[in-house]
Structures are given as structure tokens and as C-alpha cells.
Amino acid sequence: MGMTMAEKIIAAAAGVSEVKPGDIHTVELDRLMSNDGTTHLTIDMYNKLKNPHIADVNKLVWIVDHNVPCDSVKTAASHKKMRDFAKANGIKFYEGAGVCHQVMMENHVTAGELIFGADSHTCAYGAVGAFGTGVGCTDYLYAMVTGKSWLLVPETLRFNLTGKLPEGVYARDLILTIIGQIGANGANYAAMEFGGEGLKTLDMSSRIAMCNLCVEAGAKTALMEVDQITLDYLKEHGREPKHSFKSDDDAKFAKVYDIDLSTIKPIVAKPHFVDSVVDAKECVGTHIDEAFLGSCNNGRIEDLRAGAAVIKGKKVHPLVRFLVVPASAAVYKQALKEGLLQIFMDAGAIVMNPNCSVCWGSCQGVIGENEVLISTGTRNFKGRAGHKDSFVYLASAATVTASAIKGEIATADMV
């Protein structure tokens, strides 16, 4: 019986020749990422163990990204705990280098790896054909101490992509359309696998944006077929694939979806659910108070280029705060080099250091009661960006930037 990509990666990590959905296997993990959202709690639990030890310190990557630079005395205590522990134990540590998933993509992840990340958007790593999945700090601790974990083999939903996205339509429009179609739990417990001719038209940044958001459909992981674009990206970043798996022709998929990229339009996900997806035109004219261009989902150089192209020579609406937050220091430097930050600042945007920013609603740029944010972030849950009675709309970098100019939701062709 053929296997899917997800099944092949689990089989390799479990050291068995075959696995099937529903099986539970003990797997060897390749990499363990943790950020400042939960690491302080992991350390507390670690210190209470009978025999605390780290199976393989080289697997660990710790990244301070959620509240950086630190915003309060309480956060400072949690950051210090993390920093001190990383130093004392020789753990690879980043602070201020960017949002964890972008830092991981730039520096660590490779095809065929099995990675636990203490962050739900770890499924982003599927963009290079790695099985990344989000875990809590107890799972993380167990894996840190043993190097292993248990994994239930997921079913796979296969998405066959054909065609090419129209001009002015982005991967973010595509993945939000898919989430709107299958629903917020449409891929619960499952792997979402993408392939087909249409995938070849999507660059690595687009692929990361798509895989990153699959958890918003409940997916355990997302995986994309390894192709020349993957190999070029890995080579450019000095890495080789561990395995270049592809689903077998006779692999069993729980469901197959055919998506024609040429039919996708600019969309908006309305408050308070990521699957409340509508044609962006339906939201045109909705008042906004703040716009956010950034996050692990949509803060890469390609997204900044898309935003800068829309706003060049224009001004941010005087009553709107427009936050531009490159996803990593590498992206920030590239944007500087290309003059993009100059364009944003000339327009009146607030350009900030790489971090999770208002996407997670606890650091910079939080919104107040009844305020409205349009965002390239990951989520629009109630209260996600600040006050419990505030509103978040999700859209592409181009739509967000156009809205920042108009002071209300607008598409790029309207400015």
C-alpha cells in the first residue's frame, strides 16, 4: 500500500517500513523549537523533574519573538529565565532575530525532518517538505528530555493545485479561501498536502504563507512536494534535504480537492473566525483604525514589496496607524537595501523591529475597545489583537496597505 508524505516522514522517524492513519508511533524528533510564549513554564517543569537532562542539545532552538523587546517587568522575568537557561545549557538562542518560524526557515529547517515547535504555526515548515507540528510545553519538555515523542499518524487531505494566481492575488488569498471552504476544523487532526502543476507557480514565500496558516483549519501539519524551488531555497540557505519524499501514486488520501488558482480573488476574513472568508469587495468601505503588515504569515520581503508597490508616493490615512513589521532581521535588512522601509516611512507608516507584534495582541500596537484592525497576521479571534471588544479583519499585504491609505477596507486597485 502506498504512503503519503506525512506517513513516509513518520515511518522514517519511527524506524518502521510502513505506517497507516490511526497508528500511534514513538518517533525520533529532528528539531525542537520553543519561543517566549511558553518556555518559562517548560523550564519550571524541567527543574522539577527527578532527573532533568537534555537528550540532544543540538536539536533545540529557542527564540524570543513574541514580546521583543520586552514590554513589562513580568515579561522581563520570563525572558531572563529563558535566556539564562539557554546560556547555561548551550541551547541555540535567538532574540530580536525575527519571528520564530521565519528564523527557523532561514536557518534550520530542511526537507523530510520531523519537528516539534511550541507554537501552533510550526506547520509552516511543510513549505520545504518538513513535518512541523505545534505542541504545548509538556510535550516539548518530554521531547527535550527523551529526544522522542508519540505521534498519531494523521489522515491526509490532498490539494491538487492547477493554474496560476491572477495578478494582484496572493498565496494568502488562496489559503484563506481554502480555509473558508473547508472550515476552521475542516482538517482537524489531518495533514494538508499540496502538489500539482499549480504549486510550481508559487515561490517559497507563498508556500510558507500557505503552510503556516493550515493550523487555522485544524491541521496537524501541512506538507508541500519537494521540487526545484525547494531545493534552490535550501541550497541558497546552505542546507541539503534529509529526505525528499513524495506521496506514492497509490497513497490513500482521506479527501482530494482540486483548486484552480486562476479562480482565486482578493479576500478578507471577517471577525472573529479565520474561516469567515468573503470576497474583499464585500468589505470595502468598512472603517479601520489600524493596519498591520507583518507576522510569520506575511512579513517576508515579497510581502513588503507588495505593500510598498501599493503605497509608493501615497500617504497613510491621517487617522490610521499603519504598522510595518518585517518578519526577521534578514528581511528587515533586505527591505532597507531595496529602499522599501524608506517608502513606508515616507508614507507615514510606523516601521518596527522584527517580532510577533499585534498579531498576537500582547506586545506592540494593541487595539482598544471597539477599534478595528486589518491585518496580515495569523488570526482574527475575538480579543486577539487587544481589547476583548475589538475587531480584526485578515487580508493580503496589498489589501492591508490599500486599506491603510483609504482609512477603510479597500483593495489595491482602488488606491
Binding site: I24, L41, S78, G134, V135, D139, N185, K382, R384
Partner: protein, 157 residues
Amino acid sequence: MGKIFKFQQDVDTDQIIASQYLLFSTIDEMKTYTFESLDPNFASEVKPGDFVVASENFGCGSSREQAPSVLKALGVKAVIAKSFARIFYRNAINIGLPVIVCKDLHENVNAGDDMELDMKAGVVRVNGKEFQCTKLPEYMQGILDQGGLIASLNKED
């Protein structure tokens, strides 16, 4: 016997415990903000042994383990829902908070009803009726039975 606190579908982990409290030092410091945006009285009214009953996709969104942890710290005996988002589900089992799938319960109970849970038999009793729950896979029940994943770690050590 415990009281039911009832929630609807797609309750995300940001609503269980908001981001702004996650970097507090301890779960005890965070727990008073549980369900702040959905039910501001929850944390002060819930008593040890009470239940959270929800519809589909409970615990979707962020992987923050603080979400099941604050519920456990407040003494919630179990979360019973039509379905759970997977990371919340896994985290709950790992910390020893029972998460039970029961398809028929949500429509048949009201907030404030008294309910009894028989974990062994896999049933809940409420308003004179009995509802059958879905059994956990043996492996996960084993983790729950020993009080969570860390207990197994200490045993192995």
C-alpha cells in the same frame, strides 16, 4: 457532582486565556483571567469539580498549554465537547485534564445544571438522563491515568 459552564462552538485558546497573561510567571497568576472575554465571572464562580461543556472544535487556535492548565488549576474536572481542536486535546491529556467527546450532551444541558461523570463507564449523568461518551484511545487513557505525561517521565527516569 459538579456544575456545568456552557460554551458554544469554536472556542479558541485566546478566549480561554488571552495572550497578555501568558508570560506571567505561574499558572496560578494567570488563572483568574480564564475565559475573560467570554464569561468574565467564570474564574470567580467555578468550583473544583465543575465541568466545561462545549460544542464543536473546542480549544482551536494557539498551542498555548496555559489554556488547559488554567482550567485544571481552577479545578475543572473535565471538558466535555462535541469535538476538540487537536493541540488543545493533546495538551489537556498531557497535563492530566480529562477531555471527553460527547456528541449529544451540548443540546441537552443548560448552564448551571448539576452533572456527574463516571470516567470508567464513559458516561455522564445529568437531569435524570445518561449520555454515552466516546472512549479515549488506550494509549492516551494511559497517560491520563498516570496523571499526565510528566509522571511517565519521572517513572522512566
